[in-house]
Symmetry: C2
């Protein structure tokens, strides 16, 4: 439910799904759907800015607002621009990239990106892997957020016959999802981050972030970079190995 | 949602309500309802055992089972025995006493005990204090549990016009409560701790733990001891001060 709890779990034998519905993981999926080459999630603003010189587009957001001097912020609509195709993008966000780093530090077996934008292709892939799965909500500065919990519940509900749930958090997330399902936007009215974005006039971003299956992508972390493995689904492990090797020999 | 998150909150200006529905905080309320003089929550089994020589009854449970050589375990029914009246009781449980100690270590302004057994009197008192309130679920070894979250939601729902909610956890708990309310036992069938207790043949304990307002008590921590402040509600702070002084001068 929050990255603050990850230290209590052994994720070394798990696929960790990083979830930040409003808006980081949604935007990452949109970026790959629009054929970004790869993305580098980084924690600090200055680290992200340094990628500019290496030929990257740089995307950064803090507390919902685009960082000054960056190519774009955290809106899924930014990731639909023509320059995305083939681009290398460095990205830093308030909570999403931090959750991803937390999973990495804890030695997760694999790390993938989840959002409503790629929920079905992601769930099918998870069901086929025969591995433990940890759904990691990025939350808001360590506080649980409704929209991430609802998405985790949507995944848990879809995969309820494929996995044995671990503890009550699974049941809690599924209950929230079922309570919210038929009218998510109405329901989210009361959530804190939703209201935060509404005040920033980001209604369209919120609306977009709740749309299902807009992009058939599975962003997977290879060393420090995210790549879409959907074009290589038959042998994504070989794809991963070749990319990892390439990165290491650089 | 779990004591593992308490370090991320400043509770120094808050009343912390410790919640361990199955079964510690329910049993503590029942004990005071049956006129126990005071209770000492302790973390370790041997520390608890040492209270035997000081004239205490000792109660202890680990993973749902009574500790060998102890007067009783964690069942609310144990706290209805005639010897409870006027007794001093030392108590140690898997999660409840640990949550209480975590709140104490973090410097909570006040610490009280909540359960369905005392929900109404507790909520009325909380509403009257004009203080911040933190609802602390004891959970199960750092994993969120459905029954504690549901109780937190019941309190949050009752007090929704008295407090401004902090972040989404409040909304999450209220949603779970509403989903569960009309048929709590049916609903809890799927929860992990419920099943753990069912396997230990503790159905009656579970049933009892979901009954509302069986005892008009508010156990409050004074130094290291719990006292019921309901007989002193007009001036509970004076009662607290007198008890604290008595404890210190010993």
């Amino acid at each position: 439910m929050t990255p603050a709890l990850i230290d209590h779990f052994d994720v070394s034998r798990s696929i960790v799904v990083v979830i930040d519905i409003l808006r980081a993981t949604t935007s990452i999926c949109v970026g790959f759907g629009n054929k970004a080459d790869h993305m580098v999630p980084v924690e600090e603003i200055e680290e992200c800015r340094a990628y500019k010189e290496k030929g990257y587009l740089i995307a950064g957001e803090r507390s919902g607002v685009q960082v000054e001097g960056f190519d774009f912020g955290n809106s899924p609509y930014s990731y639909m621009k023509p320059e995305i195709e083939g681009a290398k993008i460095a990205i830093t966000t308030t909570n999403g990239t931090r959750a991803l780093k937390a999973a990495q530090v804890r030695g997760a077996k694999e790390i993938v990106i989840g959002s409503f934008a790629n929920i079905s292709v992601l769930c099918d892939w998870l069901a086929a892997q025969n591995e433990h799965v940890c759904l990691l909500c990025s939350a808001w500065k360590n506080n649980e957020t409704m929209e991430d919990a609802i998405f985790a519940g949507a995944v848990a509900q879809k995969l309820r016959f494929n996995f044995r749930p671990y503890q009550d958090t699974n049941l809690i997330a599924r209950t929230l999802y079922k309570a919210a399902n038929t009218r998510k936007r109405y329901y989210l009215r009361n959530s804190s981050h939703f209201n935060r974005l509404m005040h920033l006039n980001l209604q369209e971003d919120v609306k977009y972030s709740l749309r299902r299956d807009t992009h058939s992508v599975i962003p997977l972390l290879i060393e420090d970079k995210l790549y879409d493995i959907v074009p290589h689904l038959n042998d994504w492990q070989a794809f991963k190995a070749s990319k990892a090797e390439k990165i290491e020999t650089k």
